[in-house]
């Protein structure tokens, strides 16, 4: 297995809902006019609380300074697991499940905080730049570490930090944050970048104006439903996460619907904002899923984390997680 350390230096930011209008110019440029910026990594996720932006330094210049824009102080690097060798095993678990044991758990054991972004194409594990030596040390036994420099992958040399690390604590990881599961179902999809202009206005509507249909905060009252939409444009690939109702608004054949047409239910993690320093949250969720061999997507946002699991598995997931939760308490 190869672990690619991508060259993007990423910023994680949050835009408050009421401040979104001052940022729309930059966001539209980043999302729909990639040729006008030098941004290679852009992700926008709308949650009921805020908009979470993950963007590289080039793209960050497009955003204005504002009181509504809060930025996590660290610079993040994206890691990407590539299964080399093309070995064809029968059933491949999807998403964080695949890397739960090999990447996420070891990082949690070493107290490295991670920020996850699953897309249609792959999973990005964001780590703080300052944690990189530790990350490399932790993962070098399991992976071939490759660093992307100017688009070429080169072998990453170890940074020579070997001593003084905390011994991993091999204790069971109970789930400590409250979980909730909204009623709506989600679709993880993509579209052909060539068709992006034709649906741009629709996407803008979904991104910035759908909140206006209902009163802000109304989503809270309708406890079953959650407002969640994620758009990312990373190295030319578009990934979309939206609920089933929203997909109905798109013309036929524009969205890539998989042959199986699967739908996903969400598990929301956290009762109050999780912050960036706590580690092990992803591991708490992904390890039980991996044990049960349930595929999952995982999207971290500025305040909360979100896992997407197949709808038919949602009960067993909730069950499995509750067990862990109770074990923790």
């Amino acid at each position: 297995m190869e672990l690619h350390i991508l060259e993007h230096s990423l910023k994680v930011a949050s835009i408050a809902k009421e401040g979104i209008q001052i940022c729309t110019h930059g966001l539209i440029k980043l999302a729909f006019l990639p040729s006008k910026t030098r941004c290679k990594f852009f992700s926008l996720t709308e949650t009921p609380e805020d908009y979470t932006i993950i963007v590289d330094e080039e793209g960050f210049k497009e955003l204005p300074e504002s009181e509504h824009l809060s930025v996590a102080e660290a610079t993040w690097l994206a890691l990407n697991v590539v299964s080399g060798g093309g070995s064809a095993t029968n059933s491949q678990p999807i998403g964080v499940t695949k890397i739960a044991k090999s990447v996420i758990a070891p990082l949690a054991d070493h107290n490295i905080s991670v920020f996850m972004l699953s897309t249609y194409q792959t999973d990005f594990i964001l780590v703080r730049e300052r944690d990189l030596p530790m990350v490399m040390h932790t993962l070098s036994s399991e992976f071939t570490l490759l660093r992307v420099v100017n688009g070429e992958t080169v072998a990453a040399n170890s940074l020579g930090v070997t001593n003084g690390f905390v011994k991993p604590k091999l204790v069971p990881r109970p789930i400590i944050h409250p979980l909730s599961s909204p009623s709506n179902m989600f679709c993880v999809t993509s579209l052909d970048p060539d068709t992006l202009p034709s649906v741009a206005t629709l996407l803008m509507d979904v991104m910035f104006y759908s909140g206006g249909i209902k009163e802000p905060g109304a989503s809270n009252e309708d406890s079953g439903h959650i407002r969640f939409f994620s758009f990312s444009l990373i190295e030319g690939y578009i990934s979309l996460v939206m609920d089933e109702q929203t997909t109905q608004r798109f013309p036929n054949n524009v969205l890539f619907t998989s042959a199986s047409g699967e739908l996903w239910k969400m598990v929301r993690i956290g009762g109050q904002p999780l912050g960036f320093d706590e580690c092990g949250i992803v591991a708490q969720i992904s390890e039980p899923l991996a044990t049960a061999d349930i595929p999952a997507y995982y999207i971290s946002t500025f305040k909360f984390d979100h896992a997407l699991v197949p709808e038919e598995n949602i009960q067993s997931v909730i069950g499995a997680l509750r067990t862990n939760e109770s074990a923790g308490q």
């Binding site: 590539v82 064809a88 249609y120 070429e152 060539d194 998989s258 042959a259 199986s260």
Partner: protein, 882 residues
Amino acid sequence: MSGSKPDILWSPHHTDRYVICDSELGLYRIGPVGSAENKVGALLLSDETAATLLAINSDTPYMKCVAWYPKQEPECLLAVGQANGRVVLTSLGQSHSSKSKELLGKEFVPKHARQCNTLAWNPVDSNWLAAGLDKHRADFSVLIWDISSKFSPEASVVTEKNRLPSGDIDSGMVVTKPLYELGQNDACLSLCWLPRDQKLLLAGMHRNLAIFDLRNTSQKTFVNTKAIQGVTVDPHFPDRVASFFEGQVAIWDLRKFEKPVLTLNEQPKPLTKVAWCPTRTGLLATLTRDTNIIRLYDMQHTPTPIGDETEPTIIERSVQPSDSLIGSFAWHPTTQNRMVVVSAANRAMTDFTVFERISLAWSSTTSLMWACGRHLYECAEEGGGSWEGAVEKDIATKMRQRAQSQYGHDTVQVWMNHMLAGGDDPQLKSLWFTLHFMKQYAEDMEQKQQSSKQVLVYSGIKNIVKSSSGTTENRRCWSGSERQANVLWFHSEERSLALRLCGWISQGPDIDVEPFLRSLEGDGEWERAAAVALFNLDIRRAIQILNHGASSEKGDINLNVVAMALSGYTDEKSSLWREMCSSLRLQLHNPYLVVMFAFLTSEPGAYDGVLYESSVAVTDRVAFACMFLNDTQLPRYMDKLTNEMKEAGNLEGILLTGLTKDGVDLMERYVDRTGDVQTASFCMLKGSPGEVVKDPRVQCWIENYRNLLDAWRFWHKRAEFDIHRSKLDPSSKPLAQVFVSCNFCGKSISYSCSAVPHQGRGFSQYGVSGSPTKSKVTSCPGCRKPLPRCALCLMNMGTPVSNCPDTRHGTGTSDEKVDLTRNNKLSHFNNWFTWCHNCRHGGHAGHMLSWFSDHAECPVSACTCKCMQLDTTGNLVPSDSL
């Protein structure tokens, strides 16, 4: 679907059909303009060709890539890769075979939808279709579909489970189970099957090029690179692959796959297509976005680079098929260098042939040859018409003829060389006569042992008269008249030497031009003879000569009139005769007649009318000047004339410059003007103890002449020239570079070499050339061990070849040997050592020659070396004869 760029595909089997795909598929047939089937609705592609639209297929929206089924039947089956990753088989035109019915409309659906970037049919197993897809987290990006696979029950279970929209399941036309799945969690941007093995697939993945081996799918060879788009194998060179990234093309050698063997110069705009020309090796066409030119890279002469340092030469050029921006292009599969180009905007097509670079070469004779593409044209001038004259005049033809007639080799009667050269060039005539007189004089002086003058004579009249001293001046009488001539006449030893070099007088102290006059009369040069006589103040003789001329067969009757005019000469300054002669003389045609009257009418000491009459031979003008110009005027005139000659490269000037540096300057002009290195080489070799020969220019002429002879295959002539040269210029003899050394002691077996080690000896002089006095020529003179045996006669080398055919079979006896050893033909070529550098067998040159005249293989039994074929020059025949 928006902004799809058009692409072109040529039919793999019908060389007149192609498909254009943009938002729909259009099948076209191309044909000559105005042909019957092309009349209606034909689109003009070029001045000669037009295309007709045969069929349109717009059934498959969201096309991303298209690939044409490589087999003959069904003939127009296309695989279309769509934006959602599905691959559909479709067709253009009608084809009713059962196989095509079975295949048409079949769909191959990946598990997760994403763009299909590329398709490639396996060229051997044409049921295999490789599709390259974009990245999807856990799914595979390279899928190989078997188009003959049936809708299997197993697959049906899978699709049902995955809730395929029911519309898609129509009568088993949807296949969801690929034959092979490769490249998990990666994106595939380009694909091609490798011709080396039908199970090898080269794929441009995300950030690397990978070779998948279907025999063992867990293995892949890969190299990290950015250049992953448009992988394509050179059809002429199965290990050479091109790929690109943005503006840069990388060329790979699959045998050395670690890094590109070369990268082509980056272009400012991103590339969209790169294609090897199928009809010409090493020609790569590249197209970038928003341009109307196609850039070609000709790697024709690329030696397969092995070391890292060898950067092969590439010729880069651009072609502009039309004015509009190019959308795509495709090489014609069979017609050389032809392509069809489709414009980016309005599907306008152009039929275009890339013009091949022409390389052209002159032969060493008068023919010309040029190569263009696969054609080789020879242009040889045929006899007849005005061409003949041109060929005749061509210096190469002349030199060839002159070489054959031994031009330059007459060292006794040097002047004869101008006859050997054809005898029709006055400059050559003057040159060789000058050289003749110089040689004659030098020989005279040698007899008198006055070597200082011998050197002087070759330094030319200009230098001779400068050294002049003790000039006497006197007033001479008109011979046969009592009248005192009104002219001063100068004389010195040097001046008479000059006259001699001019050929006016011969050996001896007297100034006697009579023999010269007679020879001129003999040649029918009446006017010249008369003028020479007149300049020697012998009017009667002049008149007599003119009368002779008038009465002779070929002479001009008008010469009598001239004689009459001449006889009226008066030295009275204001006479009517003088006045009329000085004005009317200019209307005479013959320059000698002009100068005669100029001489008679000019003031004493002011003979410009004679001296600067350029039609008069230089020898005569120089001789005249030596007689009538004083010591101050003469050198000035000589300098002036010399410069004039040098400027013009006139060989007559050699008389003045001699074979000095000035002479070389003059000859340089001559060679520049005529290219006649032959004359230049021979002339300069005549120079006495040769500083001039050492002049680099002279060496260059000589080398060029030798090369020319070699190029004409005049090897014997060249050898003769070398011999001639070494006689005149002993320093030109090359040192021996090759020695035959003894197998035992390692010393040279040449007798002389054993006596004086490492003394330079010509190749021709060693071998078995040991002197007759030496008793044992069959053994090494150093260690007395026997020399190797001739493979044919089995005698030790050193044994001469007998002409008796028996010796070929090795029956020569030692008695014969002794006899023949005494025979002085030991160094005859037949006796030379000769051996093959490959198998190291050999023997007497004569034996070997006769063996290989009817055998291909080495005479040594069990040796299969084809010795003679390894010798590139062995089969060439000299075009001159001994």
